[in-house]
């Protein structure tokens, strides 16, 4: 091989290796580590498999007015997509923009037997005029 051909081969190898590395890691990561979003209706219909229930998922909808109950540092409230309701529990300090009647996204695990979503993180939106894309989608055209 001439030095030129060798250098070219080297550079091709390097690029292939780099792309392969990135693609491999990305695929590995995406295969098991993405978080699915589910609406209260999907959860109520029992669409989740046992395996999915062991994983963290995201849910979202509107915080149903008059359902937020706080006992000490533990909150329970109902998230609705106007078709089904979902009971959510959360322990901690609520984000500033968590309000009844407003949209919310929660991150956590769903218990099919108890039909309760235990949130480990509550993501409330940044300002009051804003609704997360996921919530907008499940609420459909009425809002």
């Amino acid at each position: 091989m001439t030095p030129r051909a060798r250098a070219r081969l080297m550079s091709i190898l390097v690029v292939v290796l780099g792309l392969g590395l990135a693609a491999g890691f990305a695929l590995y990561g995406l295969s098991g580590k993405i978080t699915y979003f589910h609406s209260p209706t999907e959860l109520a219909s029992g669409a989740l498999t046992d395996k999915q229930m062991t994983r963290q998922i995201r849910i979202g909808g509107l915080v149903k007015a008059g359902t937020v109950v706080r006992e000490g540092d533990t909150y329970t409230f109902i998230v609705t997509d106007n078709a089904s309701d979902l009971m959510v529990t959360y322990r901690g300090v609520m984000p500033d923009l968590f309000r009844e009647g407003q949209s919310v996204i929660a991150y956590g695990k769903y218990d099919n037997a108890e039909q309760i979503f235990a949130a480990s993180q509550i993501l409330a939106k940044h300002d009051e005029n804003y609704m997360p894309a996921e919530v907008k989608k499940i609420l459909g055209p009425q809002k």
């Binding site: 030095p3 780099g18 792309l19 890691f25 990305a26 993405i34 300090v93 609520m94 300002d127």
Partner: protein, 611 residues
């Protein structure tokens, strides 16, 4: 009147950008330079005009009415100028023009033809973005029926952080426009050599320095002020700022090879184009409404389409130009697998692989949603499993590369240095054995990098160049130790505290005294008194009547070893929910990033000082 003056200057700026483009890409070098300087002047006038409207609370300007309020403190009236989409675009454009003017004025630009073409391309960028701003998001528009008072700025943004984080970040983000323009100009002139590397270097240094500082400031702001309880969330928009940073870091290193050896010409040009493409992609993600994130502005499809068109035009254009002109830029300087060049190529490989991985994770949910394949989000687990796995070998490599000579390893003189490093690293790792494996390994990689950087500095000629290398690498090591420390030893306590209740957390004692009402300039608040190791802290819950919204103000006690973070929750009578968190070694994280930014500063210094 002053506002109209600004508006007029902004319209003139559109014309001036056209002049700059035509003169720069045509054959009028002197006109192009003057146009670039004038354009910056016009943008400053426009920016000042809008700022004036905010300072005087002129609510007949729609943008001011929507985003300001007469009772807002002056600092937030001014920083509120760029706290919204329209105003922040003016800042964006002003910085774009600033870099155009810098190209026209910098004495280090020794190739007049390259200077002229670069100014021309920069003019083309300005033209597109000024048009975008004027036609889709003009902040100077008036209303016939001015409201009595404004809507105010989102209380979350009423924080000194807003004055510094976006401005610095934009300086970096938009700074890569200059690098893009100089790369495109080099494709036009067909001359990429060591002299080119020296000319583009100060621009890369400024952009990279500002982007590093901007990301760190944003991270610190989220951590200290917004009470998010962490410094990085792999939020899509955070990723959008990390993408140009990683590409820019790769560029910074490939530029070293080009400068010293004249090789990696095409790759360096490509990286310059990629870095700014990532900046534009970030701009698109933030301003188009395709993402739901704390950072995104109000959504408007026409804006998204416009930016996407600009992105396609500029980046598509540059890549096409590259496809046609790059083959002429051949170099053949051979090097062996154990050489400085090879280590820098490996560095680039890892950095670009990380960029690609983060890009995939950021865009994947958008693609899935667009194809109706389900709504998903890609969060920390994905990035921890992928990016971190690539970052660790990079850290180890960082510790080896500086010892390698260019071209081929004559004698293996660096053996002793690496052996010493390995020994010290192994000794340090004994201290944290038994912890989770990933963290032990990460700690080891960071120690390796820090030790080898110190040995490198001692052995080096102590030139500004080696000091810059030392600061950058050592700073990265320190920052990684900080990241691992916070992950490893973070302690959190959530409780309903009675007035007078005391408890211990780690090596600290915390006493909750009680809560009283206090009044701020445009809010009222409930303020707790918490005694922490003898120091008094006041976490607050604020209510802003104008926008009827609440914010939680965490109270933080800083020390070198750990930060204590107290957040006040809601109450049952006199009993309040209190969340206390210990974040150890956060100071190392910020200190590390300060050193990295400083490395960029030193690099700027020596790249400007060169004869």
């Amino acid at each position: 009147m002053i506002v109209e003056f600004g508006h007029f200057a902004f319209i003139l700026a559109l014309v001036m950008a056209a002049v700059q483009t035509v003169a720069g890409l045509g054959n009028k070098p002197e006109l192009a330079r003057r146009a670039a300087i004038t354009l910056f002047g016009l943008c400053l006038v426009a920016f000042s005009g809008l700022t004036w409207a905010y300072v005087t609370s002129d609510f007949s300007v729609i943008n001011v009415a929507l985003n300001s309020h007469s009772l807002k403190p002056m600092l937030y009236k001014i920083s509120g100028v760029w706290g919204n989409h329209e105003g922040s675009m003016i800042l964006w454009i002003t910085i774009l023009a600033l870099f155009g003017a810098a190209m026209a004025l910098t004495p280090t630009f020794t190739d007049p033809q390259l200077r002229q073409r670069s100014i021309g391309v920069q003019g083309l960028l300005s033209l597109g973005f000024i048009a975008f701003s004027l036609f889709t998001s003009n902040p100077f528009l008036r209303t016939d029926t001015p409201p009595f008072d404004g809507n105010s700025l989102n209380p979350v943004l009423q924080d000194p952080g807003l004055a510094f984080h976006p401005t610095t970040l934009y300086l970096g983000y938009v700074g890569f426009s200059s690098v893009f323009s100089i790369a495109a100009a080099a494709l036009i002139t067909g001359r990429v050599d060591q002299a080119w590397a020296r000319m583009v270097k100060p621009f890369v240094a400024v952009a990279w320095l500002a982007l590093t500082a901007g990301i760190a400031l944003g991270s610190a702001w989220a951590y200290y002020e917004l009470g998010w309880g962490g410094f990085w969330f792999w939020d899509p928009v955070e990723n959008a700022s990390l993408l140009p940073w990683l590409a820019g870091t790769a560029l910074l290193h490939s530029l070293l090879v080009l400068e010293a050896r004249g090789s990696l010409k095409r790759w360096t040009i490509l990286l310059a184009v990629i870095a700014f493409t990532m900046s534009l992609l970030g701009t698109f993600l933030v301003r188009s409404g395709v993402l739901s994130s704390v950072h995104t502005f109000a959504t408007d499809p026409t804006r998204g389409a416009f930016i996407l068109a600009l992105l396609a035009f500029y980046c598509g254009g540059a890549f096409t130009l590259y496809a046609f002109r790059a083959p002429a830029l051949k170099t053949l300087r051979l090097f062996t697998p154990v050489s400085r060049e090879a280590s820098l190529v490996a560095n680039n490989l890892l950095l670009i692989a990380m960029t690609a991985t983060i890009l995939t994770g950021t865009l994947y949910p958008l693609v899935m949603d667009a194809l109706n394949l389900g709504q998903i989000s890609v969060g920390p687990p994905y990035y921890n499993a992928t990016v971190v796995m690539m970052a660790l070998p990079l850290l180890v490599l960082c510790g080896i590369g500086p010892f390698l000579p260019w071209k081929r390893p004559g004698r293996w003189t660096f053996k002793n240095a690496l052996a010493t490093t390995a020994l010290i690293t192994a000794a340090a790792m004994l201290f944290i054995l038994g912890r989770p494996a990933m963290q032990v390994i990460g700690f080891g990689c960071a120690m390796w990098l820090m030790t080898s950087s110190v040995i490198y500095l001692v052995q080096s000629n102590k030139s500004l160049k080696s000091i810059s290398l030392f600061l950058g690498h050592f700073g990265m090591g320190i920052a990684v130790i900080g990241m691992i420390g916070t992950a490893l030893w973070k302690v959190e306590d959530i409780r309903v505290a009675k007035p007078g209740e005391a408890f211990t957390l780690g090596r600290h004692t915390v006493t909750f005294e009680g809560v009283k009402d206090v009044e701020g300039p445009n809010y009222i608040a409930q303020e707790a008194t918490v005694i922490l190791d003898g120091a008094t802290l006041h976490p607050q819950r604020r209510w802003y009547p104008v926008s009827d919204s609440d914010t939680t103000e965490a109270a933080i006690k800083l020390s070198f070893l750990d930060d204590l973070y107290v957040v006040l929750g809601e109450n049952d009578g006199d009993n309040w929910v209190l969340r206390t968190t210990i974040h150890p070694f956060v100071s190392l994280l910020w200190g590390g990033f300060a050193l990295i930014a400083l490395a960029g500063g030193v690099m700027l210094l020596y790249s400007l000082r060169r004869k």
